[in-house]
């Protein structure tokens, strides 16, 4: 075991896989010599050489398109889009190509590809460094979408993603890179070195894609969260005294409906939280699935707490971010409903 930040855990996952499997290649903008703007690939070029880890031109469609060709050849590229906000030029490659090679060629050509992207806000990144586009991926047949919330999960899920035979979108909540964040932006940061989930095993291990984790057991209401909101939800439960059962989804697609349904049937109430905008967000899918599966156990309407339907603002970051106060209010209202 070693103490790691989420950055170190992600780097370690790539390191482990590059050592085990020569087919794994890593590239993206500033990823090679410098090691990535968030340092997730630092040292990999020195260790594995510049044909296994290298810098790419600033062309996201090119990065993903080239990686699709490499995956079709038989490599397992694990590429970085510098910020999820920059992925839009590559969206056609992801949706029309990566996600469909297997289907349209009846399995002749496949796309074992991981696209890593730092996601989410909380770092004063403004509208081009803060977005949470997960619903744009969960809407696409043929993709898997993963959002880890801590170093232990990040490493195990990333190794599973690299070993997966299909394309995986791996969204890394950048506000969690150096420590858990519960939305109290005015308080000192807790580093991962002081958190249990900063304990990361050495070497190879995987967490299955499609398995959620119950991070707080409770009886009063089920909270469905992922990424940064896992910690916001925990703070909200602690501060309101609501006995919430908090589920970290970890993988949005495939989704662990078993864990979700068992919890909501037990609590009879459900609050869905995410940073992304409300309308047509992944929360809408969750609310719909929960009411389909648990309608007769529900004692209150399903609530959603999300970012507002505006572009991600700069100065108003903490008015936009669905912090513990807003989540706490939703917990209380759902209990009183």
């Amino acid at each position: 075991m070693a103490r790691m930040t989420m950055i170190e855990a992600i780097r370690d996952a790539m390191d482990v896989m590059m050592a085990r499997d020569e087919r794994v290649v890593v590239f993206g903008e500033d990823v090679g010599y410098f090691g990535g703007v968030f340092r997730c690939t630092a040292g990999l070029q020195q260790k594995y050489g510049k044909t296994r880890c290298f810098d790419a031109p600033i062309n996201e469609a090119g990065i993903v398109g080239a990686a699709i060709g490499m995956a079709a050849y038989g490599l397992h590229p694990c590429i970085e889009i510098q910020f999820a906000d920059y992925m839009y030029p590559a969206y056609d490659q992801i949706v029309s190509e990566a996600a469909r090679l297997r289907y349209r060629s009846n399995g002749e050509f496949t796309c074992p590809l991981v696209v890593r992207m730092p996601t989410g806000g909380g770092i004063f990144g403004g509208q081009t460094h803060s977005q949470s586009p997960e619903a744009l991926f969960t809407h696409v047949s043929g993709l898997k979408t993963v959002v880890p919330s801590n170093p232990y999960d990040a490493k195990g899920l990333l190794i599973a993603a690299i070993e997966d035979p299909d394309p995986v979108i791996f969204l890394e909540p950048k506000r969690l890179y150096n420590g858990p964040f519960d939305g109290h932006h005015d308080r000192p940061i807790t580093p991962w070195s002081k958190h249990d989930l900063g304990e990361v095993p050495n070497g190879h291990y995987t967490l299955p894609l499609g398995k959620a984790s119950i991070v707080r057991e409770g009886a009063a209401v089920t909270v469905l969260a992922y990424g940064t909101m896992v910690y916001v939800a925990q703070a909200a439960a602690a501060e309101t005294g609501v006995d919430a059962e908090i589920i970290d989804l970890r993988t949005l697609l495939p989704l662990d409906m078993e864990t979700i349904v068992a919890s909501v049937k037990k609590t009879g109430r459900c609050v869905v939280v995410h940073e992304a905008t409300l309308t047509s967000g992944f929360g809408a899918e969750l609310a719909s699935l929960v009411q389909e599966a648990c309608f007769f156990q529900l004692e209150a309407p399903i609530a959603r707490v999300t970012g507002w339907d505006t572009p991600y603002p700069h100065a108003q970051e903490w008015d936009y971010f669905p912090g513990p106060a807003r989540v706490g209010r939703a917990l209380v209202e759902t209990l009183e409903a």
Partner: protein, 410 residues
């Protein structure tokens, strides 16, 4: 007060519209044999003029002349002839089948047969094409079964792609034919990535990217050239300039660059223009470019100058946007007639033998068609099961798709 004259927008127009007299005087055609053949390790800077010329081998008398000639034997040329004739006959039969309602859609190659048929001959087993929808000659010339192609077109019970793809969007890994997307230009950069992977793995295989004149306007084309140039990827970047992107003349995509081949110059990529209706010239240039890739000398851009003699697809009517006689006026002629004349000059072919070959090929294609139709057509006979629709989205079917398949009752 400004004294500047008001600005105005330039929107290019083709030389002629329906009702006018076709005019290709702007297509400057050098004499066959006039363009030199550089060494494959030539400095790209020193061959910039090749992007503005047209490499040609067959002259008006049907003779093969100049430094790009002399690469193919009699037998190989006769085989090439049969490939092109087969593709044309295949197209003719499938067009009729579409009109008969046996499939929803078809795209023919009329006038462009030499390009994919000759290019395939220059590749080696294991190389990978990333084709568009008008390169079926890559399959025909590699011996891919016509019955399988037709089953795909009919989306029938034997469709290798289980009815999931639009007709003509074939896929055959074994024959170096990447699954066709149908989206334009997306696969150009994928070919570069595939080639990069081959180089990363110290393999010997190379890739070939394909695109049309219109689609070079896509951003993915630019991405491909950047990546190919930066990493010196072992890839041949093919542009088939057939003058028309559905109804849009090539000038709309080309802009002020002079030629499509010239797009490669800014990237330091050797860029050649070739007579796309000259089987021998296409083969010679393809061989040159493929050898460069194979020897790790990097990418080559090749523009094939040709003419789309038919409609874009069965959903298109070209008489609405270009003169009906434009095809006849195309100065580079018909690739099959030109090779036929050459074979006759070589003394290995005759009018009689040509007619005989036409009849034999028609019989073969009809036999394949009968067999394919015995497995069903789009609206009659055997077809893929509705259950097939849910398979293959992922390697392993996730729970939500299993639930949906149950709901669908298949």
């Amino acid at each position: 007060m400004t004294t500047d004259a008001p600005l105005s927008l330039h929107v290019p127009e083709p030389a002629v519209r329906p009702g006018g007299t076709p005019d290709f005087s702007n297509v400057k055609i050098p004499k066959a044999g006039a363009v030199p053949r550089p060494n494959i390790d030539v400095d790209p800077e020193s061959v910039r003029d090749l992007a503005f010329s047209i490499i040609r081998v067959l002259n008006r008398n049907g003779e093969a002349v100049g430094p790009w000639a002399g690469l193919l034997s009699d037998e190989e040329l006769v085989e090439g002839m049969r490939h092109m004739m087969t593709l044309r006959t295949f197209d003719a039969r499938m067009l009729i089948a579409q009109r008969q309602g046996k499939t929803s859609f078809y795209m023919q190659h009329l006038g462009e047969e030499a390009i994919s048929c000759a290019f395939r001959r220059a590749l080696s087993p294991g190389d990978m094409n990333f084709p568009t929808y008008r390169q079926a000659g890559l399959l025909i010339a590699d011996g891919y079964p016509m019955v399988d192609m037709m089953c795909q077109i009919y989306s029938n019970a034997r469709d290798p792609l289980k009815g999931r793809q639009l007709p003509v969007m074939y896929s055959s890994k074994e024959h170096g034919f990447f699954t066709i997307s149908g989206n334009l230009a997306t696969q150009y950069i994928q070919a570069v990535g595939w080639a990069m992977a081959s180089a990363i793995r110290n393999d010997t295989k190379i890739a070939a990217a394909w695109i049309g004149d219109g689609s070079t306007a896509e951003s993915d084309f630019h991405a491909a050239l950047v990546f190919a140039s930066t990493y010196k990827a072992p890839v041949v970047l093919n542009i088939v300039n057939n003058q028309w992107a559905i109804s849009t003349f090539q000038g709309i995509a080309r802009g002020g660059s002079g030629t499509f081949a010239a797009r490669g110059l800014g990237f330091g990529i050797p860029s050649l223009r070739v007579d796309g209706n000259d089987y021998l010239a296409v083969y010679a240039v393809a061989k040159w470019a493929i050898e460069r890739a194979r020897r790790n000398l990097g990418p080559t851009l090749v523009e094939y100058v040709t003419y789309r003699a038919g409609a874009h697809s069965t959903s298109d009517d070209p008489s609405a946007y270009r003169p009906k006689t434009e095809s006849d006026a195309w100065p580079l002629g018909d690739p099959i007639i030109r090779l036929k004349n050459h074979l006759i000059v070589r003394g290995v072919w005759s009018e009689e033998r040509h007619k005989q070959a036409e009849a034999e090929i028609l019989d073969t294609v009809i036999a394949a068609q009968k067999e394919a139709e015995s497995y069903g057509t789009l609206h009659a006979g055997g077809k893929p099961s509705a259950r097939d629709m849910f398979d293959g989205v992922y390697a392993e079917m996730p729970p939500h798709l299993r639930r949906q398949r149950q709901q669908a009752g298949v």
